[in-house]
Symmetry: C2
Subunit: 209 residues, 2 copies
Amino acid sequence: MALRYHAGVSSRPEVTMAERKRRLVSDELTEAALQLLAGKGFDAVTVDEIVAAAGVSKRTFFRYFASKEDVVVQFLADLGAGIRDELAARPADEPPSVALRHAVLVPVAACGEQSDRALAVVQLILRTPALHARFLERQAQWREELTAELAHRLGLDADTDLYPRLAAGMAVTAFDAVLHRWSDSDGADDARALTDRAFAVIAPALDAV
Amino acid sequence: MALRYHAGVSSRPEVTMAERKRRLVSDELTEAALQLLAGKGFDAVTVDEIVAAAGVSKRTFFRYFASKEDVVVQFLADLGAGIRDELAARPADEPPSVALRHAVLVPVAACGEQSDRALAVVQLILRTPALHARFLERQAQWREELTAELAHRLGLDADTDLYPRLAAGMAVTAFDAVLHRWSDSDGADDARALTDRAFAVIAPALDAV
DNA sequence: CCTCGCATGTCACTCGGTGTCAATCTGCAT
DNA sequence: ATGCAGATTGACACCGAGTGACATGCGAGG
């Protein structure tokens, strides 16, 4: 299991026995799922096959993941929080285009580090309609979070001013475009450089008074 | 059945008997579905209830609509084609911000005309996760179409230059923001005015050299 | 009148997802 | 070690969306 953000090293964590067991099951499930789904395609694999490979019951699967799609998309959830937190952490006097660019660079960098597995997952998501739909839902959620954070940051009312929502939407659009390009190039393009180019395009709108 | 774009009046069309019958069934289905879904909520209504109300079999329902969500979202499909066609019809020397704004105004105006029914449908979509997901899929599709049309219009390669995809994404983002605002205001805000304001924000990025 | 084709209904089936309950395991106190 | 409380799991029944196969009915044209 590669795509997980372990906080520290394994030396002596404060995790209980049950906690580790839970993660073990979760990891075996995602491992088995990714293996099968990437190999046979999303629709050709049933949940029963996945749980058989992982050695747990179907009921347990749905205790860990809300849906079959979630096994693949779930690791993206953390990224959303990462974007928002990074945006909140940027200096208040930084122009929106710069702050948002750094925020988006968080998930981009995360993809770049484990490019092997990340690329496979991203490509699977982008070319499977059911997964893509879930991914778009996540994006919409990120947009909401960024909208709220931007409004707070700029002292605007997100229900009055269109700017926060539009700026958040543009940032997410940029991220989406970068991901598509990165996926289409099979990881050959540098995701960070793509991000910079994308933000160079949208910056004039982000920083307009 | 209100939300349909009948080409002309009923005087003496060149449609066969079977054709009219098909549309009749389709209309009764959507009518029954919208009635029930708007009243009881999306998840609380089963397809069996809908078909019972419409007086057809479940199998027939799925011959007309690919999914339960499609009954609600389907009428949005035409809008996508409308946006693209309008963009293609705009004068070639028009700056992207103006051409895209007019393109987006097509569905906006369509909503404004039959605001009663349209508002109910939009609100149902935006606050029902399953429907919202389908709606986002549609938006992604529109974005693809606008990307291709923009690239063609500007003589750019959509696989090389990031601009077409970003511009299309910004336009769709603007539309989405307008729709949300319009929905939140229960139709009180003027959708056309909102569209103009939204494009005023993103225009600096759209028209940057 | 007959038949060809199309839309529909019926039925059985798959699969994703959930509620329920009993069995099991972890942690903790005695 | 023992026993208890809470959480986790498996097994099973169940619901609803969606599909495949086949038979039937109805309209159009010879």
